[in-house]
Symmetry: C2
Subunit: 216 residues, 2 copies
């Protein structure tokens, strides 16, 4: 059964692959799965039909027969558990890869989203600039810890996993200026983006943006 995911009808990132459907597309491509995409407008995201699928009115969602899931982390774990390519077979290595999924979403991404929220919604407040610097310092603490752990390794724990997929996605969301202060992290992001599955997923989401008339 081919699953259906939802994505923004008009992504606010201009097709740069920062919306969370990109993460799910990438996971589907890594595991060689076909999928359908249903585009949702900002208005429709807050209406009852979509809220029945996603109680917090966001994208992506994942529908496969009568199973409906939301939350990117959960969707990717669901895909990774059922198809080869995103989690090692060894039980302990698998638990460690899942740990990195949670670390990406719960420890590294929150200060990055905090900075984004301040930049988007609090920039015009009197505190906007000062608070932006504060959030950037918090991000640097996390990235220096991540950089120390990654060291010279190619991926976070042996082979590429769903943990790397999410960590690379989270670092992409932050963007180069701060990530580039940690050369092993920017090389890590580049390795992720060079994967054929990443490229296919990126092109697919960019095509939505182009067709939507959002491009030049």
């Amino acid at each position: 059964m081919i699953p259906t995911i939802t994505a923004f009808a008009r992504s606010p990132d201009g097709g740069r692959g920062l919306a969370r459907d990109m993460r799910v597309r990438w996971a589907l491509e890594e595991t060689g799965q076909r999928y359908e995409v249903r585009l949702v407008s900002f208005k429709a995201m807050k209406e009852p039909d979509h809220l029945a699928l996603h109680p917090f009115g966001q994208i992506p969602t994942y529908e496969e027969g009568d199973l409906a899931l939301f939350e990117t982390g959960s969707i990717i774990l669901h895909i990774a558990e059922r198809h080869e390519g995103l989690l090692p077979r060894d039980e302990k290595a698998r638990a460690r890869a899942i740990t990195w999924m949670f670390a990406a979403l719960n420890t590294v991404e929150p200060p990055i989203l905090d900075r984004e929220t301040t930049a988007l919604s609090e920039r015009r407040e009197t505190w906007g600039e000062a608070r932006l610097r504060l959030t950037e310092d918090r991000i640097r603490v996390r990235l220096s810890q991540l950089s120390a752990r990654l060291g010279d390794a190619e991926w976070l724990d042996g082979a590429f996993s769903a943990g790397d997929l999410l960590m690379v996605s989270v670092l992409m969301r932050l963007g180069p200026p701060i990530v580039d202060e940690f050369p092993n992290l920017s090389a890590y992001v580049a390795r992720g983006q060079a994967r054929p599955a990443y490229r296919r997923a990126f092109e697919a989401q960019l095509e939505v943006f182009r067709r939507g008339g959002g491009g030049g």
Copy 2:
């Protein structure tokens, strides 16, 4: 093999069960597991021995033979996948329960932590009070969505699961003033706290605080 978790030697919450080891203790109690606890000082958390276990220098960690995990969500999922009591057996219900684990940690908790960070670290900034109100409005949006989904149900998706364990824990972290604006959510938190496994876990973490001389 009895696992060992780490907890704060002196929890900053004064034994109120808000530190993240409480979530893991609760999961271990729900599944009837014995466990050992190793207490870690704030200083030791940032030293090489602990950073080898937890690259971001936090608690809890989980050690079971030669397997070492960090991230509360990952530890609880590991426990829940291996022992009865925290995830339904039906594959689809299981995927939905895991979705609620991610929703608790990635969608509901971030604005709650944002408020906490502002209250703790930015209160003396000129923007402290104004920003606190802003974070509280964001929390209310999430809680109203969660409240609408829960409705009159006892738990988020059928039987009590690891998703409820984490959601109740996240709402506990926020505390009554805002949660009580949503009566079905405060009743939901109370149901979680009334569970025998919760009580055992709560007493165990309180005992650490009492022995540590932190109490009166």
